[in-house]
Symmetry: C2
């Protein structure tokens, strides 16, 4: 007797869903059965959305954020944005968190990563030369280095500050300190040290 | 100034992923960005798997489990299975948990739900007549009622037992009691009551 199992297309669907981050066999099986029991419209709609996203989403040639293939992103297309203010981030996924805080009115630049020799990522793997070109085209602009505060992020910020020092621009780094709404008890020593160093007069 | 947002195909993908059970906006965004940053092969493969599953997976005309469209499921096709032993479950998704416990060698019958007048599900909405036909074709067979032990499950089991009593078959119900590996401290009163009632001599 052969043990009953799902038909092959269901097994294939489960194995594909299982590749998504944080989804295990149980979760993938749950999703697959949900798609099959839902009528088939949700499965077809997600299938089409995946195909469309894979085909039509590209990278903005200016800043590296997501855009429609061959087009610039909405921020780079927006003439009301402050073109003399650049916010440099590691990944395109870092753009929307900043955008959502609502106070930044300039342009972005996605490096595509951070300097990390242990992972084989060197400065020439990042979008640095293009950043220098963009900054040079706006003399006197401000470049905010909004890369992470881990070791690789700091190394990347130092490297960029060094490269940008040859260009006529103001270089700034986002503040480090305690997160909003957090007590001091949960902050680690380095965070507290930097919060103290970065103190402001009220 | 318009706030930067993802291109339309990414927003569509996020909204489609968000429809999956237990996935919120954050999770859907994480999946969508993962698909976009992964190269596009995972997105295309999942898209194809969804399409294929939606198109080619149907329901076994005998038992109601998943099968390739127009075909019977592997259990109903398997001549080595015991055709005089039926296991009646609510949903096709209940089949594999039983199959995986490894001791059942008979055939399945998926009702397609349980009697629940409050949800508008009446006996005629379930695959009851077809069950009676299958059972009648195997005089003297055993029908295991493996529906749930909630109120609707019990009502469904009682209804089926009544209908099946007119047919030459042995009707059984899966045991209720404390789950394997659980202490008595976590069992509710009704579970303990049924575990006591169902006690067996050792």
């Amino acid at each position: 007797m052969k043990a009953q199992d799902y038909p092959q297309p269901v097994l294939e669907l489960i194995s594909r869903l299982k590749r998504m981050p944080g989804i295990g066999t149980r979760g993938a099986e749950r999703f697959a059965l949900w798609f099959l029991q839902q009528g088939r419209n949700d499965a077809r709609a997600l299938s089409a959305a995946l195909q469309d996203a894979a085909d039509s989403v590209g990278t903005c040639p200016e800043c590296g954020f997501f855009s429609l293939k061959g087009e610039r992103c909405t921020a780079c297309e927006d003439p009301t944005r402050d073109a003399s203010l650049f916010c440099v981030v590691e990944q395109p996924t870092d753009v929307l968190p900043i955008e959502r805080c609502g106070s930044f009115r300039g342009l972005y630049h996605c490096l595509g990563g951070k300097i990390s020799p242990l992972d084989g990522i060197m400065p020439e793997d990042l979008s640095v030369e293009h950043l220098l070109e963009r900054v040079q085209a706006h003399p006197g602009c401000e470049v905010i280095l909004a890369v992470g505060s881990d070791v690789e992020g700091e190394a990347t910020a130092l490297y960029l500050a060094d490269r940008l020092s040859a260009v006529n621009c103001k270089i700034t780094r986002i503040a480090q300190g305690i997160p909003a709404g957090a007590g001091l008890g949960h902050a680690d020593a380095i965070t507290l040290l930097r919060a103290l160093e970065g103190r402001k007069q009220l």
